[in-house]
Structures are given as structure tokens and as C-alpha cells.
Amino acid sequence: MQITALPEVAKMVGANRILRGTNITYVVGNKNLPKEEEQKLNQRYLEKALALLQTPVEEQTIFALD
């Protein structure tokens, strides 16, 4: 699976399980959050990534963080 702030590009080049990231400069973080909150966000991205790895997909799909 791929996490990227530019999911449309990932789709164009052929990725199948795509997760939309926060921002180009902090894909799975957020510099505007307090440290602790950002760590939680990191973890949520990992949880979602692992969930997608266990999700069957038939075609290219862009997912967002819950």
C-alpha cells in the first residue's frame, strides 16, 4: 500500500491501495499539532495502513484516514 499527499499521482502510476496523507512536507504527521498529538496521528496512519493491507481491493482505491 502507498501513503501519499498526492493520491491522484499514485493512482495514475498504478498503485492499488492508496491512503491520502496530510501534506507533502509531513505525509503521516502534522507540524501544527503538539508533539503528543502528532505521535497519535502517526499511529493512526500506521493502523490505517495495516488495515488496508488486510483489505481486499478489486481496483485502484484511494482511502482517507477515518
Binding site: V28, K31, A49, V57
Partner: protein, 360 residues
């Protein structure tokens, strides 16, 4: 009178009339006459040419090793000194197509003669060999045989004529138009002289596009292709997970000189050395985004620390001890495909079950 063209034809066991799937394992055989669709081919050639030999091989046999078997097939037909090589048509047949493609590739490379086959767009042989062989477009049904052979011969005539094109910088370097002759583009680019300047031609094309008129672009879209989605992981608590990134993270000092744009190399680094908890050992070689945030915390590019926790807690089987990195900025598609294949091979060798790829 001109000498008759010597034509060699390649077909599979099915079209040679040997049999279907139960005979797909038969090896190479040679016939010094037209066989099966070769009869229609001979009819289309008429007095201009003669099918001097037909090479036959079982689909399974050939598919065992396309390159090696193409070599063997080539050795058998070389003696006939062909002026033209025809393979198939293979329509949508998934083993027959690549076999035809592999034969055309080796014949055109070794003998420098036109080598033509035909396939449906669904045939995997198109993706594998359209760069190396002239593959005429066709449907899925062999009822089209005669019309497809006509198209192949029309293209053969154009290639053999090699009519000098005064527009070309090298006038004898003629390539028949893929549009006009209905074959899959080989993505070959040639320099031509034109009456108008680039600016004039660009505006002309743009206006056509705006008016929704048909036009042929000079720029080829890179072929990205589609990949079948991987099966979902059944038990993530037993899976080995690896991080791959094109965000350009590298050890301090960038010892392997990973370029920050148009990168064609990738590296595998020990995760704990490149990204020890607390950081301080990495920098970023990527001129496509502001690296400051990732420089401050690698977890902004990849959720590495949470993955370490998950490994300890048994929520994932194992975190791969190495990280794969490259820089995805103005990258060349062709090179990126090569890098992707190389990385995938190492991942498989290291028994990695799943990958989290992050991109800036």
C-alpha cells in the same frame, strides 16, 4: 523481375493442426511450406513472396522460457535466409502472444529484417514485446485471420519498401506511422525537419485540442500499466512489514550520493542506524519538497516509531530491519520501473509480506 521474398512463419501447435491444450507441450518442428494460417499468408503474398518455412512450437513448451526458446527457434530458421518474418496472429492467446513477440524480437535484432506479429490489446505479449516488435492490432477471434494477415502484409510492404522520407534527418530511417498501419507504437522517436517552427506547431496542436479536433501529439505518454492488486494479508500479527519510501531520506552526509532529482538509484539502510529513536542521523536528498519537517522528525515521512511499538506489542509479526529509500522527483518512468523491480526482488528474498510505501 524482382526476386521473390523469402518469408518464414511462426505458429503454435494449435494453428499447425497438431492439437489443442493436450499437445501444448510439443517442442519445435519445422516444415518447408506454409501450414495453417500460412496458407492464407501465402495467398496474400501471391507472386511477390513465398513462405519457405514454417516453425511450429507448443505453447507450454515455448512459455517455459521465452528468451531461451526464441534462441532455439532462431537457430532453426536462420538457414532459410528470410527477407520477412511473420508470427501468428496470436489474437488474445496468452502464451502464444509472448512466443510470437520473442521470435520477432530475436529475428529483427539478429537479421535486421521486418518481423511482424498481431495481437489483441489484452494479450500480455503486447506489454512485453511492443517495444521490440511490430505488433499489428487485432481482435480476439481467429475468424478475423484473413483481414489481420492483410494488415500485417500491408505493414510489411511499407517496411520493406523503406521509402525515403525527406522530412527525416536520416531519410532512410523510415518508420511507418503506428496510426496509419494500426500497430502498437514502439515508442521510437525520430528527428524530422518541419516547415513550421516549434512554436507554430505547438499553437497549431493546442488550437486543435481546444477545438476538439483530432491531432497526433509529438509527445508520448509514458506507459504506466496496471498491476493486479495483491491479496490481503491474512494474519497481520505474523506478517513481516517493510518501509519503502521515495521521500529521499538518507544517512547524514548522503554517503551513497542519492541524487535529489532524476534519481535512478535506491539504497537499503539499516532502520536503527538511519532512524534511531530520537533521530539525528538522517538528512533528506529530495529537491521536490521542503525537507525541513522530515529533517526534524522522520516519523513525518514514515510512521517508524509506532511500527516499533506495534512489533513489541505483537500487533505486527516483524518490522523489517532495513528501509528502502530513493528520491522520487522528476523521475524517469522507465528507470523507476527497473528500481521497483529490483527493490521487490530484495523484499521477496528477505521474506517481507507487505510494504508500506510512503511518498512526499
Amino acid at each position: 523481375m524482382l526476386q521473390k521474398l523469402r518469408v518464414v512463419h511462426y505458429i503454435n501447435q494449435f494453428f499447425a493442426g497438431i492439437g489443442g491444450e493436450e499437445y501444448a507441450d510439443v517442442g519445435f518442428a519445422l516444415h518447408e511450406k506454409p501450414v495453417g494460417p500460412g496458407v492464407a499468408l501465402q495467398r496474400e503474398l501471391g507472386e511477390r513472396g513465398e513462405v519457405v518455412a514454417t516453425l511450429v512450437c507448443g505453447d507450454n513448451f515455448f512459455a517455459g522460457d521465452f528468451e531461451k526458446n526464441a534462441e532455439e527457434g532462431f537457430r532453426m530458421i536462420e538457414q532459410f535466409k528470410p527477407d520477412l518474418f511473420i508470427a501468428g496472429p496470436a489474437f488474445a492467446a496468452g502464451r502464444y502472444g509472448p512466443s510470437c513477440g520473442a521470435m520477432c524480437k530475436i529475428v529483427s535484432e539478429r537479421l535486421g529484417i521486418p518481423a511482424i506479429t498481431a495481437m489483441n490489446e489484452e494479450n500480455p505479449g503486447v506489454e512485453m514485446y511492443s517495444q521490440y516488435a511490430y505488433i499489428v492490432k487485432c481482435g480476439v477471434n481467429s475468424k478475423e485471420m484473413t483481414s489481420v494477415i492483410k494488415k500485417m502484409i500491408r505493414l510489411a510492404d511499407a517496411l520493406l519498401e523503406n521509402k525515403p522520407d525527406p522530412r527525416l534527418v536520416a531519410p532512410n530511417d523510415c518508420i511507418p506511422s503506428p496510426y496509419e498501419y494500426d500497430y502498437y507504437t514502439r515508442n521510437l522517436i525520430k528527428n524530422v525537419f518541419t516547415e513550421e517552427t516549434t512554436a507554430e506547431r505547438s499553437i497549431d496542436l493546442l488550437l486543435k485540442k481546444i477545438r476538439k479536433e483530432p491531432f497526433e501529439s509529438d509527445v508520448l505518454k509514458p506507459p504506466f500499466g496496471r498491476v493486479k492488486p495483491g491479496e490481503p494479508i491474512k494474519d497481520i500479527t505474523k506478517a513481516k512489514i517493510a518501509f519503502v519510501t521515495d521521500g529521499g531520506i538518507v544517512p547524514t552526509g548522503n554517503p551513497d550520493r542519492i541524487p535529489s532529482r532524476m534519481c535512478t538509484i535506491w539504497k537499503e539502510y539499516e532502520l536503527d542506524k538511519l532512524c534511531p529513536q530520537g533521530g539525528g542521523q538522517h538528512e533528506v536528498s529530495h529537491r521536490g519538497y521542503n525537507n525541513y519537517e522530515v529533517l526534524m522528525d522522520y516519523n513525518r515521512l514514515m510512521p517508524i516509531d509506532p511500527a516499533r511499538e506495534f512489533e513489541k506489542e505483537g500487533r505486527i509479526g516483524k518490522l523489517n530491519p532495513t528501509l528502502f529509500t530513493t528520491c522520487g522527483n522528476v523521475s524517469i518512468v522507465k528507470k523507476s520501473k527497473i528500481m521497483g523491480n529490483e527493490i521487490a526482488k530484495v523484499l521477496v528474498d528477505e521474506h517481507v509480506d507487505a510494504v508500506i510505501l510512503t511518498s512526499a
